[in-house]
Amino acid sequence: MARDAISEESMPVLEARGLAKSFGPVEVLSDIDLALYPGEVHAIIGENGAGKSTLMKLMAGHLAPSRGSISLEGETLRFSGPVDAEKRGIVLVHQEILLAPHRTVAQNIFLGRELKRGFLTRDGEMNRLAAAALSDLGAEIDPRAVVASLSIAKRQLVQIARALQVPHKAVIFDEPTAALTPFETEALLKVIRDLRDRGIAVLYISHRLPEVGAIADRVTVLRDGRRVTTRSAEGLEPVEMARLMVGRDVSQLYPERHVRAGREMLLSVENFEVPGLAANISFTLHRGEILGFAGLIGAGRTELMEGIVGLRPSHGTLRIKDRPTRFSSADQSMKAGIVYLSEDRKGKGLLLDKTLATNLTLATLSRFTRGPMVDGRRENAALDKAFTDFDIRARRRSLLAGQLSGGNQQKLLLAKMMLADPKIVIIDEPTRGIDIGTKEQIYRFIAELAEAGKGVIVVSSEMQELIGICERIIVMRGGRMAGEVTGEAMTEDEIVMRATGVESVEEIEGAMHA
């Protein structure tokens, strides 16, 4: 299966030589050599900012290179744009879902290239072809369904089906699994393997390393805009990939766990309900504990947490240190010592067009006043402290929050919420879109919070991360609690079983191929 024996004589479909790209005076990509052969899955890995996206955009004609050349089946050429590249058989599957949400699946798949008879569209034919294309991908999706009614994973598949409608020699996947659950990821990887087996060249960009190990034949590592190495994926362990990406040893990604027993209860939730989204939820959180919430996307984890902190209407019992409470706004829960860090950092966590100091103090502004005024000096002092405490790296103090990298945004959000001096911290998807070096720091912060006696709830779709930092993991499915795992039972299989409701691993695989 592995293609370490790709013959050197066979012609690469797509080849880059000395490729470089500058934006203004900054060269973000330098001297990249890359060859993509038919029938191989070639993974590109690297931290955020390493140049993965830029490389991909160059290969798919979205950007023109500053230096170097691209050749297609031996012929050196310049793409005039993405449409040109697509015509020549190079297809890009975007990370974001770029579909018209209120149109049907088939309409989206054929958007801009509708089949017509005279002035009339051939809807029946398009629906039939769409259904066939989707079932080729192993997906049972009604071509007449409206895209908005589909799950993220299914939309992703529709998007892939759309991309593959044109004749293709090479397909580029940009972080295709970022929004997918493990189950859906597995299905997608199968689709990619099928493409490969049909002789298509696949360029696969991801920073989920175990997944790369599972799918790739060869791996190219980028760091700071340069190619570090290209080697066979066989025998390349995730830890080694991480070392190549970061440039140092990161074997200790998760901090040491100190489990302490017999602790005071901070929060107890009984028979809690967020109407229509989560019901029948009961759990407790103790001092110094890190409690994980696992589940598929749409399992109601985020909504449950939003209900607890008063951002959504809810019923049920909530006790903080045995005192019954109820919140109708984030302000109230914050005053009671609970903070919630949204998974949607850009949409709900930070004001991207405001300065770092403004963001830092937004939730606790009443503490930064002198008379009726906001005290700029105290704000600045708080920002200095946040810079050191949370290792926020910003070129200038006057930057806007939107100009920070994802990791620094997350650290700023942490710093902002810690100003409220909470006893209970709920963090939703703490490392989404964050590179591995920063992940390590975030995990350390979380561990430190627990050690300082706070109760921490971590909601995450990355099971490895929950297993790595939590003492207990509650699994949710369809808005209900589907079980709790702890100690030795904290394995991906155990979590997936509860999250999907399927009893055994064999059954999962069975379900996948059905």
């Binding site: 140049g51 949409g347 403004t358 009443s366 070129r395 200038r396 006057s398």
Partner: protein, 338 residues
């Protein structure tokens, strides 16, 4: 690219850095204003006479004061189309109160009438604010509705005509508010400055102002940060109402009446002034002094047109429109550099 140097605590910035960080977008309307003044001088030398400039500054006071309120509403992501007819309504109530004979004529009545006006304005704003926030209705629709309500209630109160101050002694007590001068500057200009100062203080220096900008920048982030979005939004409409009332207090002394044309299309002028002043209609940014400058510019454009000899009276509207667009273009090009 991925290299980010850490900003050091207490670092000092070079002059160049400071210049780069200077808010060019904030200066742009004033640059446009200066260019307009040059144009005015070219058109007619009298334009730059102290008298003319003070006339224009005084005349623009209604729109300028209302625009300060509109800056709050718009930077919180709202919109108030009712300010024009609210002006007529508040003016009508104020005059009817003075005509009502509840108190003897005198300075005392003037003071109470002003309080009545401000109370009416604040309540009118509160109406807009609560309906938009509690009713969860687009402010465009709500204030379009209240615009019609204020207007027709005013016409009803006026029996189809105008509401005029009946007592000539009261008119003479009020008149100095519009025509008087303090230290050589007309009273309305002082009032603009005072409203601007208070507005800028509230928007830029207080936690409430921060919350206004946060709500306008991203309502969800504000809500997730524990800011009461409805309360903040509703209060911006109250501020708008109070500003309308202050404008009324300046307006009523001038002609002594609320007529069916009072405040007509002022909502559009106020919104235009705010936008020319550099406040984005999508919210999150508010420029108090820019809005005042914008109101001044609008008035100057009209003034230049009348003072000029080479534009047919039929084409004045077209030239005014063109000047506003050109001013906006200049401002946008400055912003891009910033």
């Amino acid at each position: 690219m991925s290299e980010e140097t850490v900003a050091r605590p207490g670092e000092t910035r070079s002059f160049g850095q400071r210049l780069r960080e200077t808010d060019l977008a904030g200066i742009a309307p004033f640059v446009a204003l200066a260019l307009l003044m040059v144009l005015g001088y070219v058109v007619n030398e009298n334009f730059l006479s102290v008298n003319n400039l003070l006339n224009v500054a005084t005349r623009c006071s209604f729109i300028a004061i209302i625009a300060v309120g509109a800056t709050f509403v718009i930077s919180a992501g709202g919109l108030d189309l009712s300010v024009g007819s609210m002006t007529a309504f508040v003016a009508g109530i104020m005059i009817l109160f003075m005509n009502g004979g509840y108190m003897a004529d005198g300075v005392g009545l003037v003071a109470v009438a002003i309080l009545v006006a401000i109370g009416t304005g604040a309540l009118s704003g509160l109406l807009n604010g609560t309906v938009t926030t509690l009713g969860r209705i687009e402010p465009f629709i709500v204030t379009l509705g209240t615009m019609a309500i204020f207007r027709s209630v005013t016409v009803w109160l006026a029996d189809g005509g105008s509401i005029a101050i009946s007592s000539s002694t009261m008119r003479s007590y009020l008149r100095p508010i519009y025509t008087g001068e303090i230290l050589g500057l007309p009273v309305p200009v002082w009032i603009i400055l005072a409203v601007g100062l208070v507005g800028a203080f509230v928007l830029y220096k207080t936690p409430f102002g921060r919350h206004v900008l946060a709500v306008g920048s991203n309502e969800e982030v504000a809500r997730y940060s524990g800011v009461s979005v409805s309360r903040v939004r509703a209060l911006t409409y109250v501020i708008q109402g109070v500003c309308v009332a202050i404008a009324v207090v300046v307006y009523v002394p001038r002609l002594g009446a609320s007529t069916t044309t009072t405040g007509l299309l002022w909502e559009l002028q106020a919104i235009t002034a705010v936008v020319i002043g550099g406040t984005a209609l999508r919210g999150g940014v508010g420029r108090i002094w820019g809005s005042i400058c914008g109101a001044f510019m609008l008035e100057i454009v009209g003034n230049i047109m009348v003072l000029s000899n080479f534009v047919s009276e039929y084409l004045i509207g077209a030239v005014q429109g063109a000047i506003i667009i050109v001013a906006m273009l200049m401002q946008r090009s400055l912003m891009r550099k910033g």
